[in-house]
Amino acid sequence: MTPGGAPEAQKKRSTENGSSDAKSAEGGPLIVEDSVFTGAEHDPDFVKQIIRYGGKDVQTCLQCGNCTGVCPVSLKTPYKTRNLIKLCQYGYKRIFFTIPWICAGCHRCHEHCPADINPAEVFVAIRHIEVREKGVPRFIRDSTALILRHGFGAIPSDDIKRYREKEGMPPLPNTLPGYRKVLSELEALFRKTRFTELIGLETGEGAAGERKARERGGEASK
């Protein structure tokens, strides 16, 4: 994974070195020097912060890569568990926002980790940190709205419908009309636990609430 989230550092470096003068035809820099880590992106407290929010000490990671090898997400995405733990060790906090949400939480990595670190828990800790420092990310809010509306975090795509047809499976049932009661219970639960407050979603306030949710759901599906 390339560390892409350091525009300030990039700008600073390029002006310092005078390399901002060298421009390609498109106006971007010809020489990309910001692929060099300077330590400016390093947050020395990140490791301790992860421990505070329930993760283990990532400094003990041997970087053996066993977690990546057993991770279903690493297999299908550019994110490699071991690599993310390395970036935790380095204290590259910024890059983490939104990435740890991709972890499916299957805990296979924990089962195989010789250093007994439990990367899945580390990612949960980072989610806590992110929520406290930056708030709940947009896509979580959006999918919550979808859950309250349809009972699904993600609306099944046409692809899935086609696959099911091809495999001779029955079409997915439309859960909404039959499970209204469940949805209202879910909503009560969200409100009771103040989850709605945390994600800044005023749900259940008559038609307005539903409309808001629908709007958000619509945005998410765009």
């Binding site: 053996c64 890569g65 990546t68 090898g69 690493s74 297999l75």
Partner: protein
């Protein structure tokens, strides 16, 4: 703080009426010399040493007090002797560093000056004062005065003691007949010290005998080991007892009483000539432990051709005669009548002066923990199993053949750190130290035997620290063409038809998940503490470190000593190590044991616990708490009483502190001596009143 202020006032007083440096109390009282050491700037840079000396000179019974630059130096020592002569001192108090460093020095100085060495007391002004109060010179000086005053109170009550000397048995028990035990035995015998070498399996040789070649030089393991094994057999000073276990060890350094059990091998060792006729006729075939069960042996067998002694052993568990009472072919064919079905275990009792524990290691067994399909997929084997396959005297005569189909594999993978460097409870946390290197050696051998074979090594880190090791690694990668893949195998899947194995792993340096197919997977297993180590630990009364191996007293300066005097450890019994380190430790242990025995006697420190039998009720609490097994309960006319074996006692004081009847005291640390010191600390000392 109030004590310090009190002390400060008294210094003032001492300065007023006492003559600094010398003071002569009335004759007939004790004559204490106080020597305050600057220790360069270690103490002198913080504590005002001359002021402390001046203060000390005013204390009761202090005949002279001096401050020196280095009391431990020759000049400092001569100064002590001079003052003893000049002032007729009978007690010496040195206020300097910890007694752990220089107590022996000052005891010797006292002895040379004609003062009883146990009338020397040390006050620690360095570790317990100047080093911890470096920021506050004035208070540090006050504390130093307090400490010296306490020390003087203590030394006034010390009694002269003398060390006892006991004779020793010039013979060593060596437990374990691997390369460590063999080397230690030979070294001891060469110094004219008797050796009893005990091995629990039928032959000496140990793990080294199982190996094919050794890293990094590629010497044949058995070729260099076998001559030593033969030497053991032919050295008159070594009594070799194979198929024998240690059952009891009692006594103390110089005089251990040992009970051994010679298990019955059902073959008379004196008669057996090792012809092998019995084994040839034996109809039972079972997996051979020596070949890591890759090959077979008979129920009556020698584990390997070079076995020493070359005496057959009957495995009664698998023998038809022992199961059904029939067969008996071996007995019929034996030309010398050595087979004896009625043989009984034999007990051997002997006395030795020292014990060397060289019990080695057991290979980590991955199938208990289901590692990478070991024992589930036939083509997953351990490195020790590969050693036996590639060994010319092994079950395949040196051919590497896949267990599933008996064909030569073309693609071999090694998985490193199996059972090592793993913080899960099912594995060992430590690095087993040898696996990186033996994998290189095996990879090299495979490449030499089969030039078209591809060898890949999945590793986390490569540890090639040792003489010629990194060079060997370089050679294996370049000339050997061995492929190193950085990443721990994540999954091993078997194709049920071909029994080939697919390894999925992250190649961490590429940041890519790879899947590759191999014909054979070799697990580079680590070292476990050997089976039965808990029992032996209990028998010997020595300790083990958290890794499960025996614990040395000091990792750097006393690497082969145990906390129990006269018992030494060598080789993998102390922790994973390679052959050169093992041999070095064996030599060290032999040398340490010899140093004790050649002197012919052991000194028993008089600072030991003793029991006042009038107070003792024989409750036995002291026996429970003693870490050295020194006290025991004996029957006397008055009933049960505790007695402390002085040669075993280390004077730790645990028994004295725990005795509910206050019947136990430690010489040099009596209640009175300690209480007087404590009383001085809190300003209520008798000495203070006397002044």
């Amino acid at each position: 703080m109030s004590e310090n202020q009190g002390a400060g006032c008294r210094v003032q007083g001492a300065g007023d009426d006492g003559t600094p440096g010398t003071r002569h109390p009335a004759p007939g009282t004790r004559r204490v010399g106080v020597f305050v050491c600057h220790c360069g700037s270690n103490i002198g840079g913080v504590v005002d040493c001359p002021a402390v000396a001046e203060y000390a000179s005013g204390l009761r019974d202090v005949a002279v007090a001096k401050a020196n630059m280095y009391t431990c130096s020759t000049v400092g020592q001569e100064e002590i002797k001079k003052q003893v002569k000049e002032h007729g001192l009978d007690r010496i108090l040195v206020a300097s560093c910890t007694p752990r460093l220089h107590e022996p020095t000052f005891r010797r100085v006292a002895e040379e000056a004609g003062v009883n060495p146990y009338l020397v007391h040390m006050v620690n002004l360095r570790e317990q004062c100047s080093w911890v109060h470096a920021a506050d010179h004035a208070t540090a000086t006050e504390k130093a005065k307090d400490l010296v005053r306490m020390g003087v109170a203590r030394i006034r009550r010390l009694e002269p003691l003398s060390a006892r000397e006991l004779g020793v048995e010039r013979r060593v028990l060596v437990i374990g007949g691997g390369i460590a035990g063999i080397q230690a035995s030979l070294d001891l015998a060469a110094q004219g010290i008797g050796v009893v070498l005990v091995e629990r399996t039928p032959s000496i040789g140990g793990r080294m005998a199982q190996l094919d070649k050794t890293f990094p030089t590629g010497d044949c393991a058995i070729c260099v080991l076998a001559p030593k094994m033969v030497e053991v057999l032919h050295t008159p000073g070594i009594r070799l007892l194979t198929y024998t276990e240690v059952r009891e060890v009692s006594g103390f350094a110089g005089n251990f009483d040992v009970r051994l059990e010679r298990k019955s091998r059902y073959v008379d060792e004196d008669k057996c000539v090792g012809c092998g006729a019995c084994s040839e006729k034996c109809p039972v075939s079972v997996p051979n432990e020596f070949d890591e069960s890759m090959g077979k042996r008979k129920a009556i067998y020698v584990p390997f051709p070079q076995a020493a002694p070359l005496k057959y052993t009957l495995d009664s568990k698998n023998c038809i005669h022992f199961k059904t009472g029939k067969c008996g072919l071996c007995k019929k064919v034996c030309p010398v009548g050595a087979v004896d079905f009625d043989m009984k275990p034999e007990e051997v009792r002997l006395r030795v002066g020292a014990v060397i524990v060289a019990t080695g290691f057991d290979p980590y067994v991955p199938h208990i923990r289901g590692y990478y399909g070991y024992k589930e997929y036939p083509n997953v084997i351990t490195a020790l199993e590969l050693e036996r396959l590639i060994n010319a005297s092994g079950p395949t005569r040196g051919e590497v053949l896949r267990p599933s189909d008996g064909k030569t594999p073309r693609r071999i993978a090694f998985a490193q750190c199996v059972g090592s460097r793993n913080w899960k409870s099912t594995s060992n946390k430590y690095c087993s130290k040898v696996c990186c290197m033996y994998t290189m050696k095996l990879a090299q051998l495979l490449k030499e035997h089969y030039s078209d074979m591809s060898v890949s090594v999945y590793y986390i880190d490569i540890r090639a620290a040792g003489k010629g090791f990194e060079e060997f690694y370089h050679k294996v990668r370049s000339v050997g063409g061995v492929e190193y893949i950085r990443g721990r195998p994540a999954r091993v899947l078997e194709d049920p038809a071909t029994h080939n194995l697919t390894i999925r792993a992250e190649e961490t340096l590429l940041n890519k998940i790879t899947e590759r197919e191999y014909d054979l997977l070799v697990l580079s297993i680590g070292m476990d503490p050997p089976e039965g180590i808990e029992n032996l630990q209990r028998l010997l009364g020595i300790s083990r470190s958290p890794d499960g191996f025996f614990q040395e007293v000091h990792p750097k300066l006393r690497p082969v000593d145990t906390a129990r005097d006269g018992i030494f450890i060598a080789g993998c019994a102390q922790g994973p190590k390679d052959i050169p380190d093992t041999v070095a430790q064996a030599k060290a242990a032999a040398s340490s044991a010899a140093a004790m025995l050649v002197r012919g006697k052991v000194t028993v420190e008089p600072l030991t616990a003793f029991v006042d039998e009038a107070l003792c009720e024989g409750c036995g609490l002291c026996v429970t708490v003693c870490p050295y097994g020194a006290p025991r309960i004996v029957d006397t006319k008055e009933g049960k009483r505790s007695r402390v074996e002085e040669a075993l006692c280390h004077g730790c004081g645990t028994c004295a502190a725990s005795c509910p009847r206050l019947a136990i005291a430690c010489r040099g640390f009596s209640d009175e001596q300690l209480a007087s010191e404590a009383a001085e600390a809190f300003g209520g000392g008798a000495d203070e009143e006397a002044r």
